[in-house]
């Protein structure tokens, strides 16, 4: 290969070798696939952990098929790793890195990311962090079991957590994962700001791109404090410093503030790309312009800003000054206003459309229907008075799974089924897709609605057995836990339908052609899958991304790159 670093000279190069093409590539599409497949593999691992500890809760003290007996230590490690993996190694890489890498250059009309080599480095660091995390299961003492929030002094002191090596590995893996996404975030932001096709004004950028950029900005602004906190925690663990040790002048609450200052914006970091994906899908399958494109953007900015001033609602009962809870209660309830507005706008987009319920649309509508439940149940927790009781119960678990499952599972499937033809050039099977949709969404509700009930009945989190608690070990509650576990088994088993569909369709799916969904955005103007370098001729943009239902045209939509 000749030396080429400048953007725009990728086209017409020799085909690189197998290793270079798939493992050492700087092509944004290959890196997107690396992130996607790594994320999917990690999702299988995280899902397996959920299966193991839900089996323990549903059928206590039985051998779990495929795992064995769940001891308290293993249980703690499994829930900790399930949470860490699903957020940091599934939601982040798939929603931000995979979709961001794949879509940004294609949708803003350029040939690659602004910094292709930083992009490659970002994935390599990410992969290393994933391996490091999983390796912690093999070290002496086993994997870290102090919850994904890792509150010190438990996480800081091996004498307390009994996993001295596991907790260090967990922390280093998380910190490295952040480094990977900081590199990715810089890349995404710079690419969208500098490499847009001529004519693409700020308000012509598709919503999913806007949201990925805003998510990256939120991530970069919030991750700094946590990385600093992680370094201090690492020093506490390995060099016997006392940043979080009260006997030596430290303060355990400091970590909680640093963690949640990152942790709450993180919710919106993964929510926004999911909302963006859903916006694209709804516009295409309702054949409608997004209702109030600019309003959606303004509410996104409002959400992004507010997300930085709500963090202490995770700490109402943590021992902070009780007067602070009032302020954070107000800000937390205020953030429901722009989010509600966004959801209303999405629903309003359906008005006056011609809606077809293809698989991607089912997932997108499923996202709205389910995320609404996650959203409204958050009010119970943001309201300080009820949070005293509901904090750290299964109500919290049910609530955030009603947000995270729509985000990291439902919206991701909307995105994968929607862009699969572009990624691989073939169509997914619709029948299998619909079986998979209903087989995922229905059991999902049967997993978490029972947990809302056990949560209001007082079930506390992260407990491997309720045998010690008279109020919690009544049969009525155990039946609900068992129901939840069985529903999880059903939901997990339907994921094989997706895997079969995914891999079968790679070879046997119908050829997609460049624009199977008759979509107006730029990625559909190139062949499927797009060649190295994307566009044969870099496009010029003449209009916004959602010009559907235009009167007086042969086609009912106007692609962004076609002049009037």
């Amino acid at each position: 290969m000749s030396t080429h670093a400048t953007v725009g000279t990728h086209m017409g190069h020799d085909e690189p070798g197998m290793f270079k093409k798939y493992f050492w590539s700087t092509d944004h599409k290959v890196i997107a696939m690396q992130y996607l497949f790594t994320g999917m593999a990690m999702a299988l691992i995280g899902g397996f952990f959920a299966y193991v500890f839900r089996m323990q809760l549903g059928f206590p003290n039985h051998n779990v098929p495929g795992y064995g007996l769940v001891t308290p230590g293993r249980y703690n490690a499994l829930v900790t790793m399930h949470g860490s993996i699903m957020i940091f190694w599934v939601a982040m890489p798939v929603l931000i890195a995979a979709f961001g890498n794949f879509l940004i250059p294609l949708m803003v009309g350029c040939d690659d990311m602004a910094f292709p080599r930083i992009n490659r480095l970002s994935y390599q660091i990410f992969l290393f962090s994933a391996i490091l995390l999983l390796s912690s299961f093999l070290v002496k003492g086993g994997a870290f079991g102090g919850a994904w929030t890792a509150y010190p002094p438990l996480s800081a002191n091996g004498a307390y957590n009994l996993t001295p090596l596991g907790s260090v590995l967990w922390l280093v893996a998380v910190a490295l994962e952040f480094v990977a996404f900081l590199l990715g975030g810089i890349n995404f932001t710079v690419t969208v700001m500098n490499s847009r096709a001529p004519g693409m004004k700020m308000y012509d950028i598709p919503l999913v791109i806007w949201m990925i950029v805003l998510a990256s900005v939120i991530f970069m602004a919030s991750a700094g404090p946590l990385i600093a906190g992680a370094v201090m925690l690492l020093f506490d663990q390995t060099m016997s410093t006392g940043f979080y040790d009260p006997t030596r002048g430290g303060d355990p609450l400091l970590w909680q503030h640093l963690f949640w200052f990152f942790g709450h914006p993180e919710v919106y970091v993964v929510l926004l790309p999911a909302m963006g994906i859903v916006a694209e899908v709804i516009a295409v399958f309702a054949r409608k312009k997004i209702f109030g494109y600019k309003t959606v953007l303004y509410t996104t900015w409002a959400v992004g800003f507010l997300s930085f001033v709500v963090w202490a609602h995770h700490q109402f009962v943590a021992g902070i000054d009780p007067r602070m809870a009032n302020i954070f209660s107000i800000t937390t309830l205020m953030i429901s206003v722009p989010i509600t507005e966004m959801i209303f706008l999405y629903i309003a987009t359906l008005y006056g459309g011609s809606i077809t319920l293809d698989t991607p649309m089912l997932w997108a509508l499923g996202f709205i229907a389910e995320f609404l439940i996650g959203g409204v149940t958050g009010i119970f927790l943001g309201s300080s008075g009820t949070d005293i009781y509901l904090h750290d119960t299964y109500f919290v678990i049910a609530h955030f799974h009603y947000t995270f499952v729509p985000i990291a599972i439902i919206a991701v499937f909307a995105g994968i089924t929607f862009w699969y033809p572009k990624m691989f050039g073939t169509m997914l099977n619709e029948t299998l897709g619909k079986i998979h949709f209903w087989g995922t969404v229905i059991p999902f509700n049967f997993i978490f609605i029972p947990l809302f009930i056990t949560g209001t009945a007082g079930d506390q989190r992260r407990v491997y057995s309720y045998a010690q608690f008279a109020e919690q070990s009544r049969p009525a509650l155990q039946h609900l836990r068992t129901t939840s576990t069985i529903a999880l088994l059903v939901m997990l088993s339907f994921q094989f339908v997706f895997l079969i569909n995914f891999f079968w369709s790679l070879r046997n799916g119908k050829k997609a052609g460049p624009n199977p969904w008759r979509s107006a955005t730029l990625e559909w103007t190139v062949p499927s899958p797009p060649p190295h370098g994307n566009f044969a001729e870099l496009p010029t943009v003449y209009r916004g991304p959602y010009e559907y239902g235009l009167p007086g045209r042969v086609e009912d939509f106007a692609p962004q790159n076609v002049p009037d």
Partner: protein, 247 residues
């Protein structure tokens, strides 16, 4: 509404429950309204041959009000919830009624232990009653608790009281409760505290004044009443109740 699953045994339990119901009614209305609207629109605007899509930008005034009016109403509902939330919070966490009794609650890996003043009514004297896993309290009596932790972060939770407060090493955190129903209720630890987190159970036993006085008598040595401990850190656990140490 909790009562079916869990009794309400403190004076503020019902205020938490009522706030829960207020929120459930308000957000339940919006949830049903939004879901209904969505499904109606999906049905009404399903693709039909010969019916073209309408071109709507969302800037039209007569359509925009379908967003702005509900938006304002949501804001009003939020204000109601905020007022409810803060008033409940204020009464539980900020505004403490005068204490009749004080109890020290100690969290450590992986047991709750308790220290109450003996017959002399003064804490940190030799006749203090220390117990592990069981806290005996008098019904209709206002208790202040001083919550401390010996090692990691724990959380002192009594679901039947709707009470929860994290225990932080290095600090004493004060709270209050007033039990109003005789019975035995669970104490949980609701903050991940290590290997035995799931075993860190305790019980709070709300007794009538007579029963409580009898318990007090059974567990004190009148000879040491009023005597300050010689070496507080080395106070033997001589008066521990029969409660088992859960480990």
């Amino acid at each position: 509404m909790y009562e079916r699953y869990l009794s309400a045994a403190s004076t503020y339990a019902h205020s938490v429950d009522h706030l829960f119901i207020l929120i459930a009614v308000l957000v339940g209305f919006w949830l049903i309204a939004a879901e209904t609207m969505m499904f109606v629109l999906i049905f009404k605007f399903r693709a039909k041959p010969g019916r073209p899509t309408q071109y709507i930008t969302g800037e039209e005034k007569h359509l925009k009000r379908w967003i702005t009016i509900p938006h304002a109403l949501v804001l009003i509902c939020d204000l109601f919830i905020i007022v409810g939330a803060i008033s409940v919070w204020y009464n539980i966490k900020q505004n403490f009624p005068v204490a009749d009794e004080t109890v020290r609650v100690i969290g450590q890996q992986w047991a709750w232990s308790f220290q109450q003043a003996g017959p002399d009514g003064v804490m940190d004297t030799l006749d203090d009653i220390r117990s592990v896993g069981e806290l005996h309290v008098k019904v209709d009596t206002t208790y202040h608790f001083d919550l401390i932790s010996r090692d990691v972060v724990h959380s002192f939770a009594v679901p039947a009281f709707r009470l929860k407060q994290d225990a932080l090493p290095g600090r004493t955190i004060t709270g209050w409760f007033r039990p109003n129903k005789v019975g035995t209720y669970d104490i949980q630890c609701t903050q991940m505290c290590g290997l035995g987190h799931g075993l860190m159970a305790g019980r709070i036993i709300v007794e009538t004044p007579q029963d409580h006085a009898a318990w007090l008598l059974r567990n004190t040595n009148p000879a040491v009443a009023g005597v300050p401990p010689a070496a507080p850190s080395a106070t033997p656990n001589a008066n521990a109740t029969m409660a088992e140490v859960r480990r």
